[in-house]
Subunit: 256 residues, 2 copies
DNA sequence: GGCGCGCAGTGATCCATATCAAAAAAAGCA
DNA sequence: TGCTTTTTTTGATATGGATCACTGCGCGCC
């Protein structure tokens, strides 16, 4: 077990995201089974790994990884949600994804290829990138898991490219609502949520706009439009009720 | 060496993409070193793997993988270029990437998450997806390699999301020309091509439009605009000379 | 309770890019 | 080679979503 064991003995053995271990679920986007990041490892392995990590708590809004800086660390989210984004010098911003409990951040590249910011209070484990390769060699199950989630992320990215490149504002919003329902595991793999499913939406309109490649005004108008059509209800700013998921799906996929 | 060895003995030992082995190069997008897919394996391993593959030759235009169908196979490109895309029922199409020699296609998901089509005559190796997991276990170096390229693909996807979600037509074209130059290894990692570098562009305007989330008319107009500004020359439909790469970079990143 | 401030919604206008139309250039093909 | 077909370029017009401007709401704070 080499160096990880040694480090672990010096630190409290808090497992990486151990809380997530039981939360196994099947993915609607590709039919594969995705689990909390570390369900692949034994308790013992998690404890060793955890020893190699620094445990951080960040306040909402904290930018902890910045595009273009040398990639010293990579991170595993324990709780809270992180916004991943790229920005242009003039301030335009594209959110490329959201990382929740169990997600890894900052694995690719010698430089950070993306910025990461806490959207709410976040706890995470920070690892030295220098140790990544030996970690993977030490724990083949972790490598397999990373490959699985990386491939899943590629699939999500492809879906987002279709959305950003070819869908209308209304289609983007509809697609987003349905994919967010899946993310929240409100509905099973590839299935629609049941009518009247309630979605919690802890994003500001600005985040939503920057994720969907729209302006906040267009996001607001599109949501109002769906409401007027009776497809959704908006009981509060951070809650949306999907009255007619099938109708949303028809819009999202330009069917009907 | 289990089953792959047995299969190999029944077939001519043509290595997967062996030609690519010497073509190692460093990547401008993230500073990491990416090699031809199989440089991680020994000749012997390649021969075994190759034995598990069916070797196919496809004509230009051949659609060999279709979104939504059960994922029976995955592929490794030997020569030629493949277009990867998603389409909406009404015909709108988003090309999410291009796969050249050494690239793997169809690794993710129980269903094909994307369609793949030969852009020119293509030779590829086809593997059964059922054997993927044992292949990875058998050849850990392959797994590491796949993880590397998957992470690289994620980085490219994030760049494309920024382009599709937030960049103007002119910025998209400029970004594309520069990234295509890197892809063709006309310039080093993260560097600009030298002034007057000649780019070969084996894409139709339609492919370009569907990759950049624009219409063919806008693509054509943007290229004409760059030509009028003296930043590029267009000696033929499939060739572009980058007269002033720095100026293109300024447009691409909304600097200057 | 009232005040201030940031966020969200809505209306009016504008503009970048799509759409429609046609000419020009290139690619097949007999 | 000349004819046909397809692709690209260019022009004219339309439009979806951006931008600008303002109103309204929720919430913390005094």
């Amino acid at each position: 077990m080499s160096n990880f064991g040694r480090i672990a003995s010096l630190r409290p053995p808090v497992a990486i995201n151990l809380a997530e271990r039981s939360a196994a679920s099947s993915c609607g986007d590709c039919g594969a089974r995705h689990h909390g990041m570390c369900d692949a490892l034994s308790d013992e392995e998690l404890i060793f790994l955890s020893g190699a990590a620094q445990h951080l708590s960040l306040p909402a809004g904290k930018l902890f990884m910045e595009e273009g800086e040398p990639a010293q660390y990579f991170y595993n989210v324990n709780s809270g949600t992180v916004r991943l984004f790229k920005a242009l010098p003039d301030g335009r911003r594209q959110i490329t994804g959201f990382a929740g409990p169990g997600h890894f951040i900052g694995l690719a590249g010698e430089m950070n290829m993306i910025s990461a910011e806490a959207m709410e209070p976040v706890r995470l484990c920070r690892f030295s990138r220098a140790g990544l390769r030996s970690m993977l060699t030490e724990f083949p199950a972790l490598e397999r898991k990373l490959l699985d989630v990386a491939m899943h992320e590629i699939v999500l990215g492809q879906q987002q490219m279709l959305l950003l490149g070819r869908k209308t504002a209304l289609e983007r919003i509809s697609s987003f609502l349905l994919s967010w329902a899946q993310r929240q595991e409100i509905c099973g793999p590839g299935k629609l949520p049941r009518p009247h499913a309630r979605l919690s939406l802890p994003l500001s309109r600005t985040d939503l706009a920057d994720y969907l490649g729209l302006t906040i005004e267009t996001v607001s108008r599109s949501l109002s439009h769906l409401k007027k059509q009776g497809l959704i209800e908006i009981p509060s700013i951070h809650e949306i009720v999907l009255l007619r998921p099938q109708a949303l799906a028809d819009i999202a996929e330009a069917a009907g």
